[in-house]
Symmetry: C2
Subunit: 428 residues, 2 copies
Amino acid sequence: MAERAALEELVKLQGERVRGLKQQKASAELIEEEVAKLLKLKAQLGPDESKQKFVLKTPKGTRDYSPRQMAVREKVFDIIIRCFKRHGAEVIDTPVFELKETLMGKYGEDSKLIYDLKDQGGELLSLRYDLTVPFARYLAMNKLTNIKRYHIAKVYRRDNPAMTRGRYREFYQCDFDIAGNFDPMIPDAECLKIMCEILSSLQIGDFLVKVNDRRILDGMFAICGVSDSKFRTICSSVDKLDKVTTQAVLLQTPAQAGEEPLGVGSVAAGGRYDGLVGMFDPKGRKVPCVGLSIGVERIFSIVEQRLEALEEKIRTTETQVLVASAQKKLLEERLKLVSELWDAGIKAELLYKKNPKLLNQLQYCEEAGIPLVAIIGEQELKDGVIKLRSVTSREEVREVAEDLKSGQNRAFNFYYGTTPFSYKAQEA
Amino acid sequence: MAERAALEELVKLQGERVRGLKQQKASAELIEEEVAKLLKLKAQLGPDESKQKFVLKTPKGTRDYSPRQMAVREKVFDIIIRCFKRHGAEVIDTPVFELKETLMGKYGEDSKLIYDLKDQGGELLSLRYDLTVPFARYLAMNKLTNIKRYHIAKVYRRDNPAMTRGRYREFYQCDFDIAGNFDPMIPDAECLKIMCEILSSLQIGDFLVKVNDRRILDGMFAICGVSDSKFRTICSSVDKLDKVTTQAVLLQTPAQAGEEPLGVGSVAAGGRYDGLVGMFDPKGRKVPCVGLSIGVERIFSIVEQRLEALEEKIRTTETQVLVASAQKKLLEERLKLVSELWDAGIKAELLYKKNPKLLNQLQYCEEAGIPLVAIIGEQELKDGVIKLRSVTSREEVREVAEDLKSGQNRAFNFYYGTTPFSYKAQEA
């Protein structure tokens, strides 16, 4: 394999040389000569027998979340959800796909970015493009005229992804919307407040909120003498202009707000959509709505980059104690203890080995950031105690087995209370 | 509309009469006569003008989650996630769709149930059918040989839905899997333990765990003289037999376990899949795996039914206090206070009305289950205090405004501590 790797490297270098010569407009003879060399090397290399049958990748514009990325995601979601709940929102969920006709005529030119499902018989379906249209469908279908809800879910757009900047084809939206007939601007103001609260709590730096009301634009167009027939086209042009220069927000709704932290582009947007629900209602009854959407993917990128820069160690499990043994043939005893700890609600693990070495068990704790190890040995079993050791400080206490099992263990509770483990060890 | 409803009922009844006569093989004349009556009634009814342009529904086999259903879902997930974390699992997520070829050849006959996406140019994609194959792809792609992870997400099957029994085309799976080379049966035993812990915590009644090892069946077949060529077919027949009689578990994996609470069918299943990761690895390197999957949709159904039977009132928001006013023209003061409460981390709401009536504000609290109302009036503003009232007991205390805003309010803290609000009111 080492030989193959060397050959592959040679092919690569020779390919670069050929490209270089072509760029420099070298003589045809020289290029031909070098191409011949390249072909010879490629022939030597032959087909890669080890090449896998499957392309091992996620679809274009999508990604897996590793445990570390999930930790970031849960942290961000936690902040956002806490804010939405603080503002009294209920929560709903809708299917990942809708009837194709539900989405049709809602997104203008962007409709071409909708993922359709294959017609395998039955209904024609499309993946949701945002959470707003499914929300409007939900309101009309359930004849709701009044709700304040949030919805956090993935949406799908066949766009050109720019994943390094947090732009994906499958991405999360965190939406908060207020539907109902209310006095002007009160729900709108709350949406702005929510945006500010969330972006402040996330500590991703300074941000700028742009507030606009399309009726101002309407008035300017009227003064300029724009005819009704040209109105939509001009709006669309202004919209694009804005997107190109500042990557800001949608201009399709009467009122709106966008956020633009330095160098990141828009991470939140919102506005009114008073006509959408009426499009679904059989009698065209309108339900005025206002809402906001947080673009969390960009926020994930920022937080991930910050954590990487800090080289901060993030735990991806919450295990409190590893059940270990110092001698061989104690698998059953380890299983018994770990099982009793689980039943007592304690987060515990054991190595899936019959006779693991104590050193390996301690190393596992250090790698996984597990703070405590409960060690069983012949002597401890005889005495009816368990040795509880702090992995970092290496301090040890011998605890009555029954106490540990019942979750009433004092050292354990000390550790997970406000007092560090060492305090108990000194006291003992 | 009442007239129309009556006519519709008549059409329905006449239709039933015609069908009945046909079944009884009545005379042709009689049937003709009744069909004529039916057609006349239908003509009278005419087309339904109020019929909406859109079919207002979710796709077949899918559903929305209302705030109430979300409360059930979050409660169930919380129990399951706490258990998975107690066992030291990390968490991952994968895209909702995979390359079509990733799923191909993994599900045998069931492949016909996979949702494909329409070919809109680019890669051919399919919605995930379970979380196991994406997990195996994730392991191979990242060259992981050792991980314990959980994954809770929706999967998609073009199956015949039986939604009343919790069978959907879009449904959640809660998977816990242990991948790696370990000593025999230790991770398998933990998977069984996890199933039991979860089903016990959910308090959905007694359950039966069926444990099996397909190698026993292999041995029986060998003794019976089953040839290698017939082996797969016979396994498949036995598999179906089992499904028909007990709705139990998959028989495709060497070892397995299924759960069957009385009258509900299987709500969990699991087993080993030692060969799957190797199917993705370019060099066929195997990563032995064992895991379990909780079928939460059925559990949601059970819990929802139980709650309905109990007529238990479930709060769908967490709002702690409504900011209200007793007089008109206090919108700004209400907005100022609610804003300060939000900044102090208190869950608060206000009505989106300029001048709401106090009665309406109190009614809103009762409907939404909000326990406290902070009332601002002219006098309170002068005195720099806020009247804090318990909605149920109607007890009132006057609190210094600054204390309430800073979140340091004693009555408020008492209420949300262990002591009920009335305690503070008596003490005051």
